[in-house]
Amino acid sequence: SAFERVIRSVLRELDGSGELVPVDSLGRSAGFQPYCLLLRRRCRSAFWRPRFECVDMSIRDILEPDAPEPDTEQAGPFHFHDAVDGQLRGSVELAALGQGRLAGEATVSGSSSASMHVSLLSVHPNTWMTLRQERRLRQPEPQVLQQLRGCGGDLYVVTKALQTQREVEVTRTQRQEGSGQFALPAAVCLEGKGQGHLSRKRTVTIPAGSVLAFRPALLTIGSDWDVLLFPDKRQKTFGLQPPASPHLTWLRAGAAQTSGAACTPHAHGDTAYAREHTQQHAHVGAHMGARAHKSTHESAHRGTLMGACTQEHNPHSREHTWARTRERTWQRARPSRAGWAGRRHRGLVRAAPQPGPPPAACPHYGHQIQSGQSFRPASAAPGAHRLALWWARPTLPLPSDE
């Protein structure tokens, strides 16, 4: 279609990396705005692209409270002008299906033109992080989510959208002229004996605000939600997290040995603490904030925190955001709630991305904060993780082969 042709031309100029998925129909374009939810059907072949279907919902429809989505960032506008004019000449034999026959010399010319202003709207990754911290999944789960859960597909959310700024008219013209023996269909105008031309003009008007292409990100829904900008094939919206690396398996095993069955978030009193905070601050993000706050300080008090301790006991503070970021980061990698609890119990918290230097000592407990250390990821040198673990929890015996 003319619409698809225009999108291809625009994407060729603006999206060299191919991260944007073209919208296949002008009629469905409105469902691909930033924050809109999409259902991706299971694709049974690697030879064609998977399909994204609009579910006519935005992320706000599954989160509480029912507040508008944050604003998006806008790049552009980009002015795009595409004019193609080509002429072919040759001997052709055209059969107008069931209508007649055209044979002889002919010229076929085709042209298309489109001039448009487009802009790229995108949701900044930090916006997703903030949204995650402040808004939780609606309870009870919306009915649509329950239906989608049984649908077998994955839910995606639009993080970028290429949008038209102004209304644009796209015209595509094809013209054929010829001479020779004709038995022409009625649509063809005769211009003297043995000559004629056939013209076809297609025009499509794309309204302002139409989405031409989008970038989807996987939405994961479990006890909490997340948006994965770079998901791997094993990650599913309603499915299990990918199997843990041997490194994490080792950590889990360690957690089981050292903390046993009592090492759960409930055993640490996080939930009760969080509830208290929620009541005190009456803030939508207090639950998550308080949970991170509690765990951070417990770990810090034991002197095992490998990063910054919170400076203030304010769940809305920036430091809390660090702590929550740490927790979130680990939650993404965690294989299970118990595994996370075990790591948290032993203070294996990765250093946060810090906007400034952490305090030298905790103002509440007075202990020294170890800073500048980071927990090695699974890809680190063999044995390094065990050393880091030993460092973090000195009571754990150093493996003999180290």
Binding site: R49, G90, E93
Partner: protein, 206 residues
């Protein structure tokens, strides 16, 4: 999910994959095959009906049974259902594969395929599409691809069904010294078109 196959596997891989699916359809008895074919002709131009059929089949596979429905969608479900109201899994997977390929095409292409299926005239477009895919493999470079004269038949121009089918994939076609300008972006759609043509023509031939 739409991974890029290795160059050596591009064309042969697609051909093998589609042939495997076509073999799955060959288990259908003649009468059922005719029923499936007749119903598909009615469902093909209806985007909503295609989506509904896919939904019903997915649900049927998950739940282990399928609900009766009226109309052409119901008739297709009947073709794929065993006496215990369970879907025949192998056949259903093939039909879902076909529906997935159809979903990659435009509504214009659906209409053209329905007309071709009805008229039993899908072999000519199949030959052309296969030829274009074979010559342009591994499908990464823009290049002109010539169309063999023996596959064009008597008419080659904007009114020919194969022309429209290829043009809808985003390819530029020329009628003089017939050839196609290959566009890498058209890969997915053309592969899907090839799969549809193989499966539908296989059904109609038998």
């Amino acid at each position: 999910a739409a991974g890029s196959p290795a160059p050596s596997e591009a064309w042969s891989g697609l051909r093998a994959e589609v042939a495997e699916q076509a073999r799955g359809l060959s288990v259908l008895a003649g009468e059922l095959r005719g029923q499936l074919l007749g119903s598909l002709v009615h469902v093909l131009p209806e985007a909503e009906a295609l989506r509904g059929l896919e939904e019903s089949l997915e649900q049927g596979l998950r739940r282990g049974h399928v609900e009766s429905q009226a109309g052409p969608v119901g008739a297709i479900l009947e073709c794929l259902t065993l006496s215990c109201r369970r879907l025949e899994e192998g056949l259903t997977e093939v039909v879902l594969y076909l529906l997935g390929a159809l979903a990659a095409l435009t509504e214009t292409q659906h209409g053209l395929l329905a007309r071709g299926l009805d008229a039993g005239a899908l072999l000519a477009p199949l030959g052309l599409v296969g030829s274009v895919l074979e010559q342009s493999a591994p499908w990464r470079l823009r290049q002109p691809v010539s169309l063999p004269a023996q596959l064009l038949g008597s008419g080659w121009g904007p009114e020919a069904p194969a022309w429209a089918l290829l043009q809808e994939c985003g390819l530029e076609l020329r009628s003089d010294a017939p050839h196609v300008s290959w566009e890498p972006e058209a890969r997915g759609q053309l592969c899907a078109l090839y799969a549809c043509l193989v499966l539908l023509s296989g059904l109609s031939q038998a």
